[in-house]
Structure formats: structure tokens, C-alpha cells
């Protein structure tokens, strides 16, 4: 049956660069390990399962460059294996402790399967999880796109050169890793302002994603609203998230169903300390161990949460997939009747919602693709590039989307608060100095070590620009860590900048920083030059 509409499922996966090779262990690395085991691996596994049955997921997956760097890092692969083995050992102990007919035992079996799958996939690819994503893209099952180099919030960068460096470094990093140019870019937090369009075009980006009020307040408004790509000056295209689909797939949508697993309660906090102690970090502090026995339940305190039933949750994930498809089919019919177009419905989400926060999210996605095929529904999932090809004819006149983000309030406030505003003088001063150095040295003959100093300086500026630090400062929980990261990267940068300017290089310091902050290995410092030909 030919499709009356296309579903563009876009999943943005990002973890800040939290590799700490200078330490034996770092709790922040757990963020990465959780993203691997609870989001990346389930996504790879479900795409492969569907492919074995001749079904295409056809999702668009944005993998941030910092996440990519960590996904193929040998040290982190080894540590991630240790993390998974530790989780499996804890689950084994839980399985031995729990009565076989208890609800918790069924739940624990699910965790055993989750971590065994993670181990199997990690071992199959020798710990390098870029390879399966690359293969899935080569086989046409997924489209992989990128995001700004370190997830900087581009409208907050005051130097055009700094914006270009974030975009160009990401595009080059993607080309190195995936052996092709990226077509799409996920703008960090969907944050946009009109001057970005030209920078994206210069980096060869064909399309990007925005929050829906970027279109509803655009000048002129797009002819087909959010149901077709909008063309911008310079031939770049933008998609806007469909509000109804976003609400269903957001944290307050299906994911909040009382039957689904609760994210908050965790055996790491609930169980006897002596039981969990062997599985905690050396500091002995209680932390989540990824084994959670309760369901959302509803608006009750944590102590009132009821036990999780995996079978009931799986059934609900099937019901929700059916409900979602029903709603999207109805929308498709309505748009077709009103506008005479085959709409593209852009369902763009944070990937970590699927699996990590919404434990049953990957099941939901798999059910979605299966239901479309098995019930021969007149709608299909398609990658963003396929949707662009299908929807280009409906673009209408060039538009200028409004500045916006998908953050709280719809603009950029969450990243500029009284707890984080001090970042910007430092980061902007570092960027300005980096631009000055790039302009000064870009045409000079330089020794290999001098180029390395400038490349590392550029890495430190990029890392300082990550939007994650401001977000952590606002939320408070990891604020001290975030402050340390901003101050540390700026300090590293100015140290390297002095070495470059004075031509007095301390190779020991340089080597240490290169080993520690080893992102963008092929980064060209000229990305920061004002008249860069990068």
C-alpha cells in the first residue's frame, strides 16, 4: 500500500565528553555507560532485529561528536565492559536472592537480558560501537547525522568564527568517522537564530531541526506548516517538530503511564547497604545500579510506588504504538484533505528518553515499525533525507525561522542564569584569543609540535563551550563538576595559548592534555580563523 504520509523519527543522542583517563574511575563516566547500555545498544539491537525480518527502522539518529568520540574510545570500552559486568553480577545476585515466582524476579530477568545483550554487542564489535551504527547506515536502515562539536548552544556564541568552528569541526569529525559527509545537523537544544543559516550552509549542511514555534513565528510562515521541509535562504532546509507527536513522545506523554517502569527508585538506593556495597564505586556512596523494581504508579510518593510487571508494560507499549499510529494516520488524513499534500510528521526526541528514562521506549519504537508492516498501514517511517526528497516540492517560498529552542520557555534562558552567566566572559574571551591565534598563524610555516599546541588549544575552547555545563549549573546536582570543567578547559586553553604565542612549548603538558581531552583528533586550528578555508 502506498504511504499517505511519512513519519520522520529523529532521535538525538548526546553525552558530554566525560572521559577521565587521569582517574581510576569517575562517576560522570557512568552517564556514558548508561547511555550505551540503555539507549545505544537497544537501538542497535532493535534495528538489527527488524532488519532480520526485512523491516527498516528508517530512523534518523543524531550522534553528537562527543558521544561518537567516546563510543570508539578504547579506554572507555574497557571501562564500559567493567560497568556491564558489574551490573550483571549484581543482577545475578538478585536473581539468586529473589523467589522465582516473585514479580521482582521477572523484572530482574529483564535486566539480565539487557546487560547480556549489551555485552554481546560490545564484544561483537570489539567495544567500538560506532561500527554498528556505521553499518546500519551503510545498509540503509538508519540515517546518522551530527550535532555541533561539543553541543554548544550556537546562538549564545558571539563570534561567527566560534559558531563556524563548532559546525565545521562536527562536520569534519563526522566525515572522518562515517566516511561520508553528513546531510543533517541536530542543533543543540534545537537552538537557532537567523544568522546561523549561513554558517550551516557553508559547512555543507542540507537540513536541521527546530522547535515548532520557530515555524509558527517565521517570516513568512511556511506554506505547509510543520508538515513539509521549509527552505531557507541559501538552499538549506529546516524541519520543525510536530507538537502533538512531540507531546505523545515527550517525558509527560506515553512515558509517564503508570504501568511503565519508574526511573527514580533503584536498588542501589533501596537495598541493604551491605548487599549493594560490592557494586558501588570505591567511594562507597550509594548510587543507581540500574536495577529498578517499581512502576510509575501515578502521583504517589516514591515509597508508594507499586511493583513493576514487565508483561503488562510490554502490552502497554504495544497499545501505545497502536494509539500513536492511529493518531498520526488521522493527522495524515486531515492534512491531506486540507492541504492536498502527503505530510511528513517530524517526531524529534531526546534519544535517552527511549530506554533510559522510558525503559519501554525501544519496545514502543519496534512495535511501531512492526505494526506499520504487519497491518499494511498507509504511513511509513522514513529517514530525514528521504523525507526531504519526498517533501521538497511542498516547501513554498524561502522562510526565515524565528529564534527559538526546545528548552524551558522556548528560548535560551535555561543556559544563562545567575548560576551560569559567569561562563560567558571566560568562554568568549577564550574564543576571541583562539580566533586571534588562528588568524596569526594560519598561513605560517609551523613545526608539528606548534600545530599540535594550537589544535589542543582549539579542543579546549570547544570543550569549554558545551551547553551541558550551564545546564548542570542550573539544575544544581552536578554544578561543582560543571564549574570545574569550564574553569579547567579555559585554564588549559590560556596555558596553551601562551605557549603558542611565546613559542615556548612544554611538551609534557601538551602530551598530558592531548591524552586527557582527546576529541577531534584531526581538528584543524584554522577552523577558528576569520577567513577560514577549512
Amino acid at each position: 500500500m502506498s504511504a499517505k504520509g511519512l513519519l520522520s523519527i529523529v532521535l538525538h543522542a548526546h553525552v558530554p565528553f566525560v572521559r577521565h583517563c587521569e582517574k581510576e574511575w569517575a562517576p560522570e563516566e557512568d552517564w556514558f555507560f548508561a547511555a550505551v547500555t540503555e539507549t545505544c545498544v537497544p537501538l542497535i539491537a532493535l534495528t538489527e532485529r527488524l532488519a532480520h525480518e526485512n523491516m527498516r527502522a528508517a530512523f534518523t539518529v543524531s550522534l553528537s561528536p562527543t558521544l561518537c568520540a567516546m563510543l570508539e574510545d578504547e579506554l572507555l570500552a574497557k571501562r564500559c565492559r567493567g560497568y556491564v559486568e558489574n551490573r550483571l553480577a549484581f543482577v545475578d545476585e538478585e536473581l539468586a536472592r529473589l523467589a522465582e515466582d516473585s514479580p521482582e524476579h521477572k523484572t530482574a530477568l529483564g535486566y539480565a537480558a539487557l546487560y547480556e545483550t549489551a555485552l554481546e554487542i560490545m564484544d561483537r564489535y570489539s567495544g567500538d560501537l560506532i561500527t554498528p551504527f556505521k553499518q546500519l547506515q551503510q545498509n540503509g536502515l538508519l540515517e546518522i547525522i551530527t550535532s555541533p562539536a561539543t553541543h554548544a548552544l550556537l546562538p549564545l556564541l558571539i563570534h561567527p568564527e566560534a559558531v563556524r568552528a563548532q559546525v565545521a569541526a562536527a562536520a569534519e569529525d563526522y566525515a572522518d568517522r562515517f566516511s561520508r559527509r553528513t546531510r543533517g545537523m541536530w542543533l543543540s537544544e534545537c537552538a537557532f537564530e537567523p544568522r546561523l543559516t549561513q554558517q550551516l550552509q557553508l559547512a555543507g549542511i542540507k537540513y536541521f531541526f527546530l522547535e515548532n514555534h520557530a515555524f509558527s513565528l517565521a517570516n513568512p510562515r511556511p506554506r505547509c506548516g510543520v508538515y513539509a521541509p521549509a527552505r531557507l535562504k541559501g538552499g538549506v532546509y529546516a524541519w520543525a517538530r510536530e507538537a502533538g507527536a512531540a507531546a505523545r513522545l515527550g517525558p509527560g506523554g506515553y512515558a509517564a503511564d503508570p504501568v511503565y517502569r519508574d526511573f527514580g527508585r533503584d536498588a542501589g538506593f533501596d537495598a541493604d547497604y551491605e548487599t549493594v556495597r560490592p557494586y558501588l564505586h570505591p567511594d562507597g556512596a550509594r548510587r543507581g545500579l540500574g536495577v529498578k523494581y517499581h512502576r510509575n504508579t501515578g502521583a504517589v510518593p516514591a515509597a508508594g510506588k507499586q511493583l513493576y510487571d514487565p508483561a503488562a508494560a510490554a502490552a502497554r507499549a504495544r497499545e501505545h504504538a497502536a494509539d500513536f499510529l492511529k493518531s498520526q494516520l488521522a493527522l495524515t488524513e486531515r492534512i491531506y484533505a486540507e492541504q492536498g499534500i502527503r505530510p511528513v510528521i517530524t517526531c524529534a526526541c531526546d534519544a535517552q528518553l527511549f530506554g533510559r528514562r522510558w525503559f519501554e521506549g525501544p519496545q514502543f519504537l519496534e512495535n511501531l515499525v512492526r505494526a506499520i508492516r504487519q497491518e499494511r498501514l498507509p504511513i511509513q517511517t522514513a529517514t530525514a533525507s528521504e523525507c526531504l526528497e519526498a517533501g521538497q516540492a511542498n516547501c513554498g517560498d524561502d522562510i526565515e525561522p524565528e529564534a527559538s529552542s526546545w528548552g524551558e520557555g522556548g528560548y535560551f534562558e535555561p543556559w544563562v542564569t545567575t548560576a551560569s552567566d559567569w561562563i560567558y566572559p571566560r568562554v568568549n574571551a577564550a574564543a576571541e584569543k583562539m580566533i586571534e591565534l588562528a588568524n596569526r598563524f594560519q598561513f605560517q610555516d609551523m613545526s608539528s609540535v606548534e600545530k599540535r599546541v594550537l589544535a589542543q588549544a582549539a579542543r579546549e575552547v570547544l570543550l569549554a563551550q558545551s551547553s551541558d555545563w550551564a545546564d548542570m549549573m542550573r539544575q544544581g546536582e552536578h554544578a561543582e563538576y560543571a564549574r570545574g570543567r569550564v574553569l579547567g578547559h579555559c585554564e588549559n586553553f590560556f596555558r596553551l595559548a601562551r605557549m603558542a604565542a611565546d613559542k615556548r612549548i612544554d611538551e609534557t603538558v601538551l602530551r598530558e592534555l592531548e591524552a586527557r581531552n582527546n576529541v577531534f583528533l584531526n581538528l584543524n586550528f584554522r577552523a577558528f580563523a576569520s577567513a577560514s578555508t577549512f
Binding site: 537544544e189 507538537a243 528518553l353 529564534a403 528548552g407 566572559p425 576571541e432 549549573m473
Partner: protein
């Protein structure tokens, strides 16, 4: 001029004043605007150590004048006096959907114009967003 923006106040009570002290020993005198929303813009400025010393010694008037301008025409939008060492303030621009820039005017102790800092140009978004739909899980 401080907007009543809930997001400006964060969950954690954190005194960032010591971190702003570095803006008094900057490599360069600088004025910067950063748009937060249609209703809120952050302005911050930095002084080199020698320039800050001149303020401290009283050779410059302690009040500086912040002037907001429309970037396209240079037309003045408003003026506001601030202390030289406030180093930042948040203000509500009169309208969104336009570019602004700003200047910070420094006077001698006797009130004679001395120098001015000029800012970057900033785009302030138009209109009010739809209620956030919680798409961002972070």
C-alpha cells in the same frame, strides 16, 4: 529593569561573585550582549586591570551609562546608569524580532565624556513561545 524570570533564579543558591572578579583583570575592555528570550537580555562588561584601577582611584565617575541602540539605525532605545563594577545586568528589550547593540559610556570624575565600549549585535527573538512541551529530557 530586572525581568521577573523564574529561570534566572536557580535551584541551587550559588554566589558567582568571585567568578565575576576576573572581569576586572580582563585582557581587554569589552561589552557583550546575550539574548535569553524576547523578554530578557544579559549585558556584561569587562575591564583590564589598569582601567579598573583608574575607576578605583576615582579618576573616572563610578557610574557608567549603558545605552541600548537599534542595530539597523543606531537609534537610541534607552539609557541606564550602572556602577562600573556591576559587571552585568539583565534587562527587558522593548521589542523582539530585531537586532540591538549597546554602548557603555565612561566619564571623567568631572563628568566629561571619556570613552565608550561598543557591544556585539544581538538578535532578540520575536513573540512569546508556545508553552514548552517538555521535549528536552535533560
Amino acid at each position: 529593569m530586572e525581568p521577573e524570570t523564574a529561570l534566572l533564579q536557580v535551584k541551587e543558591c550559588f554566589d558567582s561573585s568571585p567568578l565575576w572578579a576576573e572581569s576586572l583583570v580582563s585582557q581587554q575592555n569589552r561589552l557583550v550582549l546575550i539574548a535569553r528570550s524576547p523578554r530578557s537580555v544579559l549585558a556584561y562588561w569587562e575591564w583590564t586591570g589598569p582601567k579598573a584601577d583608574v575607576f578605583r582611584k576615582g579618576a573616572f565617575a563610578p557610574e557608567v551609562v549603558f545605552v541600548l541602540l537599534r542595530a539597523a539605525t543606531g537609534a537610541e532605545v534607552f539609557q541606564e546608569k550602572r556602577r562600573w563594577d556591576d559587571l552585568r545586568f539583565y534587562f527587558t528589550p522593548p521589542a523582539g524580532g530585531t537586532y540591538y547593540r549597546a554602548a557603555l559610556l565612561v566619564s571623567s570624575a568631572a563628568g566629561q565624556p571619556h570613552s565608550k565600549l561598543e557591544s556585539n549585535s544581538v538578535y532578540v527573538p520575536r513573540g512569546a513561545a508556545q508553552p514548552p512541551d517538555g521535549g528536552c529530557a535533560s
